[in-house]
Assembly symmetry: C2
């Protein structure tokens, strides 16, 4: 990697570590690869971050911190249901479009370290989907939307937002599109997903 003068050594390490970890996962990543990519000696990695595990944790937490808090805020926001749906899909896609490889990275490592990391990410407070769920139930009672299980509705929304990024390579392969076209599609989804959901549930 090109040595960027204006970046401190620590910043360069973090950038390279993120790149390698995201690319190969915790188990597949090699400390030497990270050192090489950062243009430094391997021992320096251990000088700045004591172990592979510690370095990984920093990267993982940063990745998770970029993915989750926004969700929580929107879910907790005081907005009418449809506005909340639009806002969630739009904001969430905005984040993920800029970090297309984060979802698979995070999901994958959570799967491999379910107990260890899941609590490290959001401590004891789980993502407050129940608030959105209650809101949905309320609208159903008011008969502004048709009856639908809140759990499934939330899952559908999350699915449509996140999945395309998890399956990006496969999607690109099967649709035969390049990165720019893929990004374009994802931009469209910012509004498309909410439209799709609302069309399905609105009475």
């Amino acid at each position: 990697m090109v040595k960027k003068k204006d970046q401190s050594t620590e910043e360069r390490i973090l950038a390279s570590a993120k790149k390698i970890f995201v690319e190969k996962g915790m188990a597949g990543a090699r400390m030497q690869d990270i050192a090489d990519d950062a243009g430094i000696n391997k021992a320096l990695l251990h000088y700045y971050f004591r172990s592979k595990e510690k370095l990984f944790e920093v990267i993982f937490k940063e990745a998770a911190a970029r993915l989750f808090p926004t969700i929580v805020n929107i879910l907790n926001a005081d907005l009418p249901l449809f506005d909340k749906l639009r806002r969630f899909t739009n904001d969430y896609l905005e984040i993920v479009i800029e970090n297309p490889y984060l979802p698979l990275f995070v999901l994958n490592e959570i799967n491999k370290q379910p107990h260890a990391f899941s609590k490290k990410v959001f401590g004891n407070n789980r993502p407050p989907i129940h608030k959105l769920a209650e809101q949905i139930e309320k609208e159903i009672r008011k008969k502004t939307i048709r009856p639908i299980s809140p759990a499934h509705l939330v899952m559908n929304m999350m699915s449509m937002c996140v999945f395309p990024f998890l399956g990006k390579p496969m999607i690109q392969l099967s649709m035969n599109i390049d990165d720019a076209q893929f990004r374009n599609l994802m931009e469209e989804r910012k509004t498309m997903i909410a439209d799709f959901i609302i069309a399905s549930i609105k009475k």
Copy 2:
């Protein structure tokens, strides 16, 4: 692992390899772990399957073979659009419910070896989503469904089918449900997803 007499050594190796590979991924899996799990000597692994890579390839291909061909068949089937949607979501979920860890495994490894494996899986013939896409366009022209980008519609359907299995641990955490309850939810989705889609697009 308990030695199952009625299983041949090769079968036991494959079962253990699948378990370990799916759990830890190619990079994280250890040959010794597989040997231990199968209750045999490590050298036997190399006797039956020459290398870790070869063994992995067998497992990966088997996993991919369980996930993809059914998709292709349904997509190619000669059915009215709505029937096809219902059939796809139902059949696909049936497969994945029985193999909940396959999607993440396959997706993850494809991401790490995009070129090598993607072609090994479906050779040169990509999944024929264009046939379904044409079918959707036809219905739009007939005005039986509202205008929607076929690409997005297909992506939505795939997303809602697959994502819950990719995010299983996170979903279970945030909804506080056990395996049985999760499975129940997924059973519901067999019909729910198609209902949801059709409600959104039907005119």
